[in-house]
Amino acid sequence: MSTDGHDYLRIEGLAKTYPGSVEPVFDSVNFGMQRGEFVVIIGHSGCGKTTILNVLAGLEQASEGYVFMDGREVSGPSLERGVVFQGHALMPWLSVRKNIAFAVRSKWPDWSATQVNAQVERYVEMVGLGGAIDKKPSQLSGGMKQRVGIARAFAIQPKMLLLDEPFGALDALTRGSIQDELLKICAETRQTVFMITHDVDEAILLADRILLMSNGPQARVAEIVRNTMPRSRQRATLHHDPQYYRIRNHLVDFLVARSKDLSHGRAPAQPAEVSPGLTEPESAPVQPVHLRRIA
């Protein structure tokens, strides 16, 4: 499915070598994305996830390989791809309203002030920050700032959304509630999303497919896990689904045991797609893996 040639986003043979190092951080990265799909990439620090996202955003150049979106090559930043940055990246001298208006006016420079304001208010309302719209970022909590970052990215109605570990700096409770919101908004807007995370549960909650990256150097997308759980997921009931632990164990197994052995280009260039949620558990019942975040 990922190689049928009709992918909305297509990454081919992507590699990045930083000046001064012999071995590339990652190479032969190949994968595709469908329109409306939520894809999460997961892997250890230093495997180049953020670099891949920046290449997709057009903020960084790859050493080799191509990115195609909607049949055209991605060669620089574009309003077609909204980015939610790791550290929210709000401009501290502007209020929430003006921060988002800055983005809206960039997309539609001909809009009147009323039109811009209507768009801004709609998206601020969407992330539940209507009451804080005229506050400065410094007056907001970390979770609220990240919500504003999300609203800003959605407000320009991009064809694709790139999220660089958007909830990494948030506490677990805040993270959970924003995850729920993101899930709801994505379901409403049928947004195509590419997201980086370190959090296995976040990946299972949000993603349609999970890209597993082997360790660097010469990291690759080693395997693609299809999330076969029904799309109407909820954080509260997620772990009652029998598929949940099968998928989760598969992911944790990869990150803990296999990703190391697949560094230095030992991972396949064309990743296989697996559906661990559908395979019947082997003789012994699956032991829940001890909850941990992979850092």
Binding site: P77, S78, L79, R81, F85, G87, W93, S106, S138
Partner: protein, 293 residues
């Protein structure tokens, strides 16, 4: 004593006490008057003439003796009252009110400073955004920066041939460096993530400069402007002493030639007061553009 519990009131009370102490010391120091001149009767005609040449008053007795020395508080108060009564009078080139002289100085500083800002801020932007330009201009800046602005004066007078414009030039040259360096520093330090936001939103260069880089660097730029203004106000007094004609610096020099120490002291106070007000103004501006991250 309840009112004195507030720290602001207590510090104000202490300030007043220090002021009172300084005034008391002044009063006591000038009480005895200057070196008492020997009675007129005991002097020969040549000695009286010599004493007059030295600026000593020989006409009266001991009561008038204080007049020739450092001014007493009463004389000082009188000088202040006379000056403040008509600060803008103009009785020809060597006799203008202190307000008028301050206005001349402020106009020079304002003009020199404005030209410096117009040059330094865009150039600082350029330097801050391009490491290449920064490296290319750095040796020039490093050599030019430590030069005392007054050292430029002969060159300015020779090439410009106008003492007034030379004064403005000296203000320009001393204001330009802090603004240039701070602007470059502020612009170079604009966070990568804000620039990346602008890039992903395809923001045009001019809009990026005015809506992202300028507000982000504004606190640093304003700090540079504040330092520049402080230096400019220091330098204007010296420059006007050199070029003469008008201005508070010339006023000080002129009153020294008149041996009017009360007026000199009054001018010194005014220089300090105006300098403080200028600094306060920039502090306000700085506060207005500072953001909490």
């Amino acid at each position: 004593m309840t009112g004195l519990r507030s720290p602001a009131l207590r510090s104000a009370a202490l300030s007043l006490m220090i002021l009172a102490l300084v005034l008391l010391v002044w009063h006591l120091a000038t009480l005895g008057g200057a070196a008492p001149v020997a009675p007129k009767a005991a002097m020969t005609a040549e000695e009286i003439e010599y004493a007059k040449l030295l600026g000593k008053d020989v006409s009266g007795g001991g009561a008038d003796a204080a007049k020739s020395g450092f001014p007493t508080l009463a004389q000082m108060g009188q000088a202040i009252a006379t000056q403040l009564a008509s600060p803008f009078y103009d009785n020809g080139p060597n006799d203008k009110g202190v307000g008028l002289q301050l206005a001349y100085s402020l106009a020079r500083v304002g003009l020199g400073f404005a030209i410096a800002a117009v040059v330094a801020i865009p150039l600082g932007f350029l330097i801050g955004m391009s490491p290449l330009v920064y490296r290319a201009l750095d040796p020039f800046i490093q050599v030019l920066k430590p030069i005392s602005p007054l050292a430029w004066m002969p060159l300015a007078l020779y090439t410009i041939k106008d003492s007034n414009i030379s004064g403005i030039f000296v203000i320009f040259i001393c204001s330009v460096w802090p603004m240039l360096l701070n602007t470059a520093f502020g612009v170079a330090g604009v966070r990568r993530e804000w620039l990346n936001v602008a890039r992903t939103l395809e923001v045009k260069p001019l809009r990026r400069a005015f809506e992202v880089i300028l507000p982000a660097a504004a606190p640093t730029i304003l700090t540079g402007m504040r330092i520049s203004m402080g230096i400019a106000w220091l330098v204007i007094v010296a420059a006007e002493m050199l070029v003469g004609g008008t201005g508070i610096g010339y006023f000080v020099w002129n009153e020294w030639n008149n041996l009017s120490l009360p007026n000199v002291i009054f001018a010194i106070l005014m220089i300090g007061l105006v300098g403080m007000l200028l600094d306060l103004m920039f502090a306000r501006l700085q506060k207005a553009v500072t953001y909490v991250d």
